[in-house]
Symmetry: C3
């Protein structure tokens, strides 16, 4: 009897993908510091985004060339794309800060970046657990909780932007940045939801 093992490298690639997000979130935090050299942080972010792309491509290539996948091919694509989307959104935040030459960012933005860093760490810690996805309930509940907190921050920041404290042109710039931050947090929630759906199917 031949035993055909399920390719374990899928878990490794998902973990690698999530680790890129930990790096990306750290660069985002650096970008918000008062002493940051924007062009320099943005260049490193572009590099991190590029490496994340390569992991995603390696994952998709493996799906196409593997006979037995640990779970539905389609779910592997969705989770891989979901992780990649987070990186793209974080990259966009950094890029907008550079492009719009925003020098002073409202302090509330760091709360959103804290949420992103926490989500990234949780996701990286959860990926090896995809072997038994039913055990990841705490992960997806906590990410959903963080997304709720992020949404409350987001609304508070928007209210502040429109409070009259900022010039209209600054509102226009900051709104784009703030919405991209919110988009990155939402993208983490999507990842958590995909993991939950995989767990439901497997159960």
């Amino acid at each position: 009897m031949r035993f055909r093992p399920v390719d374990t490298s899928f878990y490794d690639l998902f973990t690698e993908s999530a680790q890129h997000l930990v790096v990306g979130a750290a660069l985002l935090a650096e970008m918000l510091s008062e002493t940051a050299v924007h062009a320099d942080v943005a260049a490193r972010m572009r590099q991190a985004e590029h490496e994340a792309d390569e992991t995603t491509h390696a994952l998709f290539k493996r799906v196409n060339s593997t006979f037995v996948t640990p779970f539905d091919r389609e779910d592997i694509y969705r989770l891989g794309s979901g992780l990649d989307d987070v990186m793209d959104m974080m990259d966009e935040v950094v890029d907008l800060i550079l492009l719009y030459e925003v020098k002073v960012l409202p302090a509330e933005l760091s709360e959103q970046v804290d949420v992103l860093q926490r989500c990234a760490e949780l996701t990286a810690a959860a990926m090896p657990g995809l072997r038994t996805p039913g055990n990841l309930e705490e992960f997806w509940i906590e990410v959903n909780r963080l997304e709720n907190a992020g949404d409350k921050n987001h609304r508070r920041i928007l209210a502040k932007l429109f409070s009259g404290e900022f010039k209209t042109i600054e509102v226009l710039k900051l709104k784009d940045i703030v919405e991209a931050l919110e988009g990155a947090i939402d993208a983490f929630e999507s990842v958590a939801n995909i993991v939950e759906q995989i767990a439901v199917k497997e159960s």
Copy 2:
């Protein structure tokens, strides 16, 4: 011989889901009235959105636990999500009005809310008819017609916003609200299109 009946509760759940949209559209109309207490209407909208979510979850749970579904599982998901998207968009309109503290809304907005109320009523009336979807042609034609009318309104409102009559910061606020309204109308059109596609498959 055992007869395995198609679960009729799917039709009930779709109808319930559409009825939440009738409630949501009415709250939106209330929000636009000059005497509305924004925080109060928004709280009731949040409650309505929450109840709509519960109907959607009940629907998805039933799809997962039912052997024979009245039409493709995938189409049930799409229609359920499509109805849920309308609620989310209407909730966003209310939320933005509250958040941006917009006191005076251009009168043209009520025309868009009229369109939404009409779409909601048509959709709620159509859902029980999913048993024989081919008979729902008038429904999807009328919703498409309403969406066209809404699109014309939308463009007229945008032109007015940029006519020089409003301060730029107000344009920025109102544009978000107006686009969310348009998004809600588009979401109704998507629902109508999904129903049409289900009818085509069944025919």
Copy 3:
């Protein structure tokens, strides 16, 4: 022995669809010229968009009524929708210029329209080659290259918009137009990616 030929008209319909995009991109270029009568060009764009819709509908109708399709039904839908999305985005650019009554457009916008015209020509030339999609590698590589160039232009234009040279209300208008242009270029990239995926499957 009966030979069941694969319906060749799919290739013709994809080609027709891409030829509408060549027309659309030319109208967009006309819209940017200093002497353009905006309402007139916009009316012709609406007509072109309408004709493109009819081609898309003919394509989808044929998929539904044909037994043997040249490649996956789902991929035919994706490619057909992808081509249609480009037309919608180009139509939106023209529509926004008309609606916002923007008289003077920054010269950099024509570079983006050049990219669109080049993408449209490449796509129209590539469609008959779908019979042997593996030979279309140059097509998708070149469209991706053009999209990268378009992205660089886009960022340069955004930086210029926020440089202080424009009134805030003009920034608000131009940003919408510039983002719709970028959306049209991205939509071409999606088309190229779909073609690449079809080629990978066939290989």
